[in-house]
């Protein structure tokens, strides 16, 4: 086994051991799917938008991945408080490698969590294009990597959980609500439209919607390029900040 594998496995083991966390974190997406999906469905189709559930599910899968990924990245703060972080920081391996191992672990969990919500949505009546599923998984993976690395970068700068609420309210929530996860990004007031277009999650949602529900706004190549490049950049920044952590 090598560093990457052992740290990746660590995250997965911890994930599968906390059943409460798995169940707890599908509660919110499920609520969104049921309440919004069935609540707004009639209006959406009356306005000519088609089947709202087909539109909504990729957005809620993206949301699930976003929350799980950010949270996995932020977990570094706990590891710092409980001391385990020190153990990895003094090890004779590059800190970039440690950061990548952790990020891969967190991203895998986020994708699994997204897959769980996807499966549940099938029972609610979602009819995806299954041919495109492999490509959808690629997009899910990119969203997961990007936001786990972002969480890592942020957590590397924080000493404790006090800033967490701030990040949730001023970064994560706006990222979700202004990403096109819940409504189409066409015909919006221009300032919201601008925000949506510089929001990385918009491209993830669009990629998932393009693959699973055959509807894309930016085009899949564009989605892939934007997310891919941003992921590499954020991994680099996150790795650098992680390597500078002092405990």
């Amino acid at each position: 086994m090598n560093t990457l594998t052992v740290l990746w496995l660590r995250q997965l083991k911890k994930y599968f051991r906390s059943k409460a966390r798995i169940i707890g974190s599908i509660g919110q997406p499920l609520l969104f799917l049921v309440a919004l999906g069935f609540g707004f469905g009639p209006i959406f189709s009356k306005a000519g938008g088609g089947n709202y559930l087909d539109f909504l599910v990729p957005g809620i899968v993206a949301m699930t991945i976003l929350f799980t990924a950010i949270f996995s990245g932020i977990e570094i703060i706990w590891d710092r408080q409980f001391g385990f972080l020190k153990e990895t920081l003094v090890a004779p391996v590059s800190r970039y490698e440690i950061m990548v191992g952790r990020t891969l672990g967190g991203a895998t969990i986020a994708v699994l969590q997204g897959a769980l919500v996807f499966v549940i949505s099938l029972f609610l009546g979602f009819t995806p294009n299954l041919m495109m599923l492999p490509l959808a998984i690629v997009f899910a993976g990119l969203i997961a990597l990007f936001f786990t690395a972002l969480g890592t970068a942020i957590a590397s700068l924080l000493d404790d959980m006090q800033g967490f609420q701030l990040i949730m309210n001023f970064l994560v929530m706006p990222t979700f609500f202004l990403s096109g996860a819940l409504f189409p990004l066409t015909g919006l007031p221009s300032f919201i439209s601008v925000i949506a277009q510089i929001n990385p999650l918009s491209y993830g949602v669009d990629g998932l919607r393009g693959t699973l529900a055959n509807a894309t706004q930016f085009g899949l190549p564009m989605d892939f390029a934007v997310l891919g490049i941003l992921t590499v950049v954020v991994m680099g920044i996150g790795g650098y900040l992680f390597s500078k952590i002092q405990v």
């Binding site: 052992v6 001391g83 020190k86």
Partner: protein
């Protein structure tokens, strides 16, 4: 070549100077005790020596490598048992050992044997598959030590390794460490508040107080210097009788409290 050399090392937290311009040398294969009252700056010094904390100023060389310029190379040369907990409570004892083994490049075919030997040594082998969060304080401490001994570094730092352990376990663990020192020439750098322990095992002792090294030498030299019968008396002679508050300005706070009582 020296195992550790610190020159004019200082660490400030804001205005407060935790380590104040200290210098010392540790020979290869030595057993070096770093003693001092609570808050003296021992852990802060160890953190700087082990690349966890950046010094405010000064220079450190570990096994010939510059700690500040070449931290990655330095990390290949030492092992450490921290004073504060550093286990993953949500993993089992075995998994904690295994992660350490992989991070420290213990060969895969040797790993199971070494883990079994060390967990057996600290009497945790039958608890190997239990989550660490179900362990008692002493069991966690024993696991930390077993983990620190899993790979065989050139320099081993131990920050109050035997804190909270019963005398039997302390003796047991020290005999293992002394054997490692003898057989493999491992340099040992440790702190403790048990003066008898330091007296028994240390070849060289430095005493730090308020961030400054106030005395250094063998146990015999320190006793002679202070005309004390035991290392404990020498220690108290050198560092005073006052109890330390873990506070930036201990004197001020005591004065304040006295005033309040009046």
């Amino acid at each position: 070549m020296l195992a550790i050399e610190a020159e004019n090392l200082s660490k400030k937290f804001g205005d407060f100077t935790a380590v104040d311009n200290i210098s010392f040398k540790v020979e290869h294969g030595s057993i070096f005790a770093f003693l001092g009252p609570n808050g003296a700056g021992k852990s802060t010094t160890i953190k700087m020596l082990t690349t966890v904390l950046a010094p405010t100023s000064g220079k450190i060389t570990l096994n010939g490598h510059d700690v500040l310029k070449d931290p990655n190379e330095v990390r290949k040369n030492f092992g450490i048992v921290f004073q504060d907990p550093s286990l993953d409570d949500d993993l089992t004892a075995y998994e904690n050992m295994e992660i350490h083994g992989v991070l420290y490049h213990v060969p895969g075919n040797e790993m199971p044997k070494r883990i079994e030997q060390l967990l057996g040594f600290v009497e945790l082998w039958d608890r190997k598959n239990d989550l660490v969060k179900t362990f008692s304080g002493g069991m966690k401490r024993r696991l930390e030590i077993a983990r620190g001994l899993l790979h065989h570094p050139k320099v081993l730092f131990m920050d109050e390794p035997t804190i909270g352990l019963d005398p039997q376990t302390r003796n047991h663990i020290w005999s293992y460490i002394l054997k490692m020192n003898k057989d493999e020439g491992t340099t040992i750098f440790f702190t403790t508040h048990y003066m008898d322990e330091a007296d028994k095992v240390a070849k060289e002792i430095a005493i730090i107080d308020n961030g400054k090294i106030v005395a250094q030498g063998t146990s015999a030299q320190l006793k002679e210097k202070t005309k004390a019968n035991s290392l404990e008396d020498a220690f108290i002679e050198l560092t005073g009788h006052e109890i330390r508050h873990e506070e930036a300005a201990p004197n001020q706070r005591m004065r304040m409290m006295r005033r309040m009582r009046r």
